[in-house]
Point group: C2
Chain length 196, copies 2
């Protein structure tokens, strides 16, 4: 039959060194939501600069610690994979580190994403086992830049909270939204069907 049997999700080569440098900078910490968001937003901006994908970055960190478990950037166009949003990439790579599909299996984990999750990534959050989600830009910021966020329930934050997942919005929103705005201003690709 010769069906396609596999695909490899791989981060761009610049990421490891970039994160390394970021963490070595004077005062760089991953203790607070703001510090964590600062790295997620830096990844979103660098992903555009390196031309490896859309203006979205995400990280997974120990909630009550500062261990960086995994990172992700949007790799939709690079991998030809519509599901390769920053959150899915970060969660999946982190699950590999933890060696479980449940990130909660080794303690409380936090997903920090430069933009509130789209409908797909929102749906992916409860399955991942994270204890909390921290978001930078809002859906409105992504839409203003031409992105489609999909159809989430109106009360999406409440549905996560009901599942015991904490949600924190608007952390460094202006900085995160600026990356989206700058991407749109430079005619960055808006990669969804019907808007190529």
């Amino acid at each position: 039959m010769n069906l396609q049997q596999h695909f490899d999700i791989r981060l761009p080569g610049w990421i490891d060194g970039f994160v390394d440098n970021w963490l070595k900078a004077p005062g760089a910490r991953l203790d607070t939501a703001g510090q964590r968001m600062s790295l997620a937003v830096a990844l979103s901006a660098e992903n555009v600069r390196q031309q490896t994908g859309g203006p979205f970055g995400a990280i997974v960190v120990e909630e009550n610690g500062s261990r960086l478990v995994g990172v992700g950037v949007n790799l939709v166009t690079r991998l030809n994979m519509s599901a390769a949003h920053a959150e899915i990439v970060a969660l999946s790579l982190s699950q590999r580190v933890v060696e479980s599909w449940n990130l909660g299996s080794i303690g409380a984990m936090q997903l920090v994403t430069s933009c509130e999750p789209c409908a797909m990534c929102f749906g992916a959050v409860p399955w991942s086992g994270v204890a909390s989600v921290v978001c930078g830009a809002r859906k409105e910021d992504a839409e203003a830049a031409g992105f489609d966020e999909g159809d989430k329930p109106e009360d999406w934050t409440a549905t996560l909270i009901r599942r015991g997942i904490e949600v924190k919005l608007d952390v460094m929103r202006a900085e995160a939204a600026r990356v989206l705005h700058d991407y749109a201003a430079c005619d960055g690709a808006i990669y969804h069907p019907g808007r190529t």
Copy 2:
């Protein structure tokens, strides 16, 4: 930094031969929704029998043809990846075949899934570029077997239709639901946080 850089999504070894045999059986065709669902349900059942994952199967087929573009089964436990639902696997492998994140780029494609999509897979559908979705079992059938389908908008089919994506429900629902029921009856793993 030694961040986790990549992961490989790979179908279990039995799938290629299984699909090959299925397609060679007398009368096997992929022309109608029912015929297509028959393969998706067969994959869901075989995935349980082979102990390679949960009771879910999906395929991507040319809407107006019979070319099988890609297949997927639930690989959450096998890959330690909570996003490795049958639909995400089938869509991602198909995008690799098509060499685009947009399956619509080479013609109308149909996603045929043995169970209606969970919240994550529902959100993934519009990003994938498929023209239509055919579902077997209902959310209620999955929930009766102990699975959590997540929080989709109440009118999830309408939101897809508004985006120009056709939705067909209840195709071979009884056969698809039976696989879920049998899985639950045999104490199959229900792999989501809080229900292990």
